[in-house]
């Protein structure tokens, strides 16, 4: 169906694709693997006509695609879900879908379309509210809208660039199901994921990129996670990480009856209570959109609490400003690297100073000290293995993994009492994911307390000393890792209280 040959693409000095060949047969699912920055997205953007290749040819269904744009790509039968969402935040889900959908017609019929969205999304188990404004939707929901868009546009070859990053296990299963159904109808799929299990489960064959070039390809039959990982990075990164046994210390964070109602009066956080001790990780599982964002941001001081209290190391920070929370020893890794935890246009050094720029060594008496920025940047870049041309490179020029390392270096680097980490491995390759997890365990070993919020069950199970589940703004009773029952967590994530059912 698809034959790409000799694709070359450079961004200035960066060679993102160097002579890549990629073929996809009718009804095949091809996995595209590679570390962050290895050129996967670039290759797909070339295919979809978003960026123009420097060299190479593309043949799709026997016809050459040349100097094409997305419109031509869509018309030819391609569909793409981008790693970075291409949704219009200010519009409703229906509007976003009508935008992408020629069949929506010249004169818009939002009611009819919403009905179709409802039925189709129910059929695929995606559960989308067509009338919601995209800006109000959490990350995971937005991704579902993207998937929906591509499905409805009826593409014959579907490009899925990391579609599963934010889906809960049942949702991932649902998506894989959708993919199988599409395949059965003769559609082809290019599937990009850092999750090797998924790749092994769904793909017929894989193509592995490293540094812009193909380093391996072959059928998935007979491949293992270890062999795939080896192709990607030249070493094995899948072995389980070692976690030291630590006796937790004193309680450092006490959250009691925390609640938050949004402007519309809706309860986003509902009576959430937990405590956290030094050297302990509380991992919270949950499908995205169940209040995790609110919990993280209320703790970080970005959203106001409407009830309850937060006590950090003896200081009541319920209504404290961000700066006071920082001073009290709180660190926060938000999910959104592009606009919140990083300023991509600023330098690596600036980003490393972002939360402490008004203190030594970065400044004194309101005056910035360049030497302080540089020294700190070099130290952190070394300690956290941040790969960048130098402290003065703009952060946007770094790979996703290295960008996240900046955030880790800044938040963990100052040895916080409490770290709130929200999906810190989002979009990271296995190597980078492992790095993040190691750093968080290292913080724990050093006596830090961590609240780890994630939709990825494997991470929750790997990291949590105690584990809880969030659903509908409520937090379940945290359980020690030894007492955890995976099916029970699954049920809790789906909003079913196993205790209640038993009764």
């Amino acid at each position: 169906m698809l034959d790409m040959r000799g694709i070359e693409k450079s961004y200035g000095a960066v060679k993102a694709n160097r002579g890549i060949d990629l073929a996809v047969a009718d009804g095949a699912i091809v996995g595209l693997l590679g570390e962050n920055g290895s050129g996967k997205s670039t290759l797909m953007k070339v295919l979809f006509g978003i960026v123009a290749a420097d060299a190479g040819t593309i043949t799709f269904k026997g016809r050459a695609l040349r100097h094409h744009g997305p419109r031509a790509a869509i018309a030819a039968g391609l569909g793409m879900i981008h790693q970075h969402f291409t949704l219009v935040d200010a519009m409703s889900v229906t509007e976003n879908i009508m935008l992408a959908w020629d069949r929506a017609g010249w004169w818009l019929r939002p009611k009819d379309i919403a009905r179709e969205i409802r039925s189709t999304s129910a059929a695929f188990g995606l559960d989308i509210d067509p009338d919601a404004r995209v800006a109000d939707l959490p990350h995971g929901q937005r991704q579902r809208v993207e998937i929906m868009k591509a499905i409805l546009a009826g593409a014959e070859l579907l490009i899925l660039d990391e579609p599963t990053s934010n889906l809960s296990p049942p949702e991932v299963a649902g998506l894989l199901d959708v993919m199988r159904r599409l395949k059965a109808k003769g559609h082809s799929i290019i599937f990009i994921s850092h999750k090797l299990d998924e790749v092994l489960e769904i793909c017929d064959e894989v193509v592995v990129l490293r540094d812009g070039a193909v380093t391996g390809r072959g059928p998935t039959r007979g491949a293992t996670k270890a062999s795939l990982a080896h192709m990607m990075v030249g070493r094995d990164v899948t072995a389980t990480v070692a976690r030291a046994d630590i006796t937790p210390g004193a309680t450092v964070l006490r959250v009691s009856a925390l609640s938050r109602h949004d402007a519309a009066g809706l309860a986003r956080l509902d009576d959430v209570s937990f405590s956290l001790r030094a050297g302990e990780i509380l991992a919270v599982a949950g499908v995205d959109g169940n209040g995790q964002t609110d919990l993280a941001e209320v703790l970080a001081g970005l959203l106001p609490a409407t009830g309850g209290g937060i006590d950090l190391g003896g200081i009541d920070i319920t209504h404290a400003a961000v700066k006071e929370r920082l001073a009290a020893g709180l660190a926060y890794i938000p999910v959104d690297r592009a606009t919140t935890s990083l300023v991509p246009a600023m330098t690596v050094a600036d980003n490393l100073a972002l939360r402490e720029f008004d203190q030594p060594p970065f400044s004194q008496g309101g005056v910035l000290r360049k030497a302080g920025f540089r020294a700190r940047a070099l130290e952190r870049m070394g300690r956290f293995d941040i790969r960048a041309a130098g402290p003065q490179s703009p952060a946007r020029t770094l790979s996703g993994g290295n960008q996240q390392k900046i955030v880790l270096a800044r938040e963990i680097g100052r040895g916080p009492k409490v770290l709130v980490a929200f999906q810190p491995t989002w979009g990271l390759d296995p190597g980078a994911t492992r790095f993040v997890i190691e750093q968080i365990l290292a913080l724990r070993a050093a006596g830090g307390a961590v609240l780890y919020l994630s939709a990825a069950l494997d991470e929750v199970l790997m990291l949590g000393d105690r584990i809880a589940v969030m659903h509908g703004g409520r937090l379940s009773e945290p359980k020690p890792r030894a007492a955890v029952d995976v099916t029970e967590i699954g049920l809790l994530m789906a909003g079913i209280d196993p205790g209640a059912r038993a009764a």
Binding site: L302, V322, T339, T340, L342, M346, D350, L354, G366, L368
Partner: protein, 337 residues
């Protein structure tokens, strides 16, 4: 470097197009452009005039650059200049006779800055507290500020029997000293240079500038960092207003030696142009402001000397801006934040 070369090309192109129009008007472009050059650089007096012209553009432009860096779209320079001019004039005219000149001028300039700042803070208040778009607040207050000049000239500060809305001539002590005796060049340009340098230091070397840059790059990031956007908005608006108000004070005391209706004609908008052409870098506002000042000085002289219609002055200015913006725009992608 590339930007410079392309900017030069853009200027050449604008001159070329206008040359055609000058021909149409029946004049020789060579003579006309000769006059333009002489009008801008031909003598110490011409340079002095051009520097005076650049002064308000630079002062107000630095403030605009800082605001726009923080993504606070302040287009209220016109009103802030007007109110600054009123405040400075009031100090000079109402000061007791025989006040020491240095003190009087210092107070007048401070009053000018304060007046501009108040006007800007007023806009910021409506913007922050009442959630009205800042472009609208600043734009509407421009109209009011300009009318305020007419009103104070009609009643409290006006000169009786003058043929035009203007105040009495300031006492000598209220005239800004000349930088080069014998020319019109007053010391305002020193304020402008200082503002550009200090603006640069403020933006790149202080925590305040860092806050502005984070805020301009991303509001969510600013919240995450703990920057209070309201506080920073008030601060940067007050600063920009003060610079514009100072420009107003300098203009009345240095150029006109009196408050006169229309003393700021489009300076506020020119300041926006200058700031953006300078890529929002306070230091680059200096050459950008000088460019516009010298261009206008030259074009006005060209009109007088060669008799090209005044409308062509506008055409040259407009074309030059468009072409220079295109050159700057093509190279703007790697702007430092």
């Amino acid at each position: 470097m590339r930007t410079l070369a392309m900017t030069a090309g853009a200027i050449a192109l604008a001159l070329l197009v206008t040359a055609g129009l000058i021909l149409l008007a029946g004049k020789s472009p060579v003579t006309a452009y000769g006059a333009l050059l002489r009008g801008a650089f031909g003598s110490l007096d011409r340079v002095a005039f051009a520097l005076n012209k650049s002064t308000p553009y630079i002062l107000a432009g630095v403030g605009v650059a800082l605001c726009f860096r923080a993504k606070v779209i302040n287009i209220g320079g016109e009103g802030q200049i007007a109110v600054g001019g009123i405040a400075a004039s009031a100090v000079i005219l109402l000061a007791p006779a025989g006040s020491p000149p240095v003190l009087m001028l210092a107070l007048a300039m401070l009053a000018g800055a304060a007046g501009g700042a108040v006007w800007a803070i007023l806009a910021a208040w409506v913007f922050i507290k009442r959630n009205v778009h800042e472009v609208l607040c600043t734009l509407l207050l421009n109209f009011v500020g300009v009318l305020l000049v007419s009103e104070v000239l009609r009643a409290p500060l006006g000169e009786d029997g003058a043929g035009f809305p203007q105040s009495p001539l300031f006492p000598r002590a209220g005239w800004l000293p000349k930088l080069i005796p014998g020319t019109d060049l007053h010391i305002g340009i020193l304020f402008a240079v200082a503002a550009a340098v200090l603006g640069h230091v403020l933006l790149w070397r202080t925590t305040f500038g860092f806050r502005l840059r984070v805020m301009g790059a991303s509001r969510p990031a600013a919240a995450y960092v703990g920057v209070s956007t309201a506080r920073a908005t008030f601060a940067v608006m007050a600063l920009a207003g003060a610079l514009a108000g100072l420009a107003g004070g300098i203009e009345v005391s240095g150029v006109h030696n009196r408050l006169i209706e229309g003393f700021s004609h489009g300076f506020g908008f020119n300041a926006v142009a200058v700031a953006l052409i300078a890529g929002l870098n306070p230091l680059a506002v200096l050459p950008a402001g000088l460019f516009l000042g010298f261009l206008e000085a030259g074009a006005l002289a060209m009109q007088r000397e060669v008799g090209v219609p005044s409308s062509l002055v506008y055409v040259i200015e407009g074309l030059m801006m468009v072409f220079v913006l295109c050159a700057v725009g093509l190279n703007a992608r790697n702007r430092r934040v």
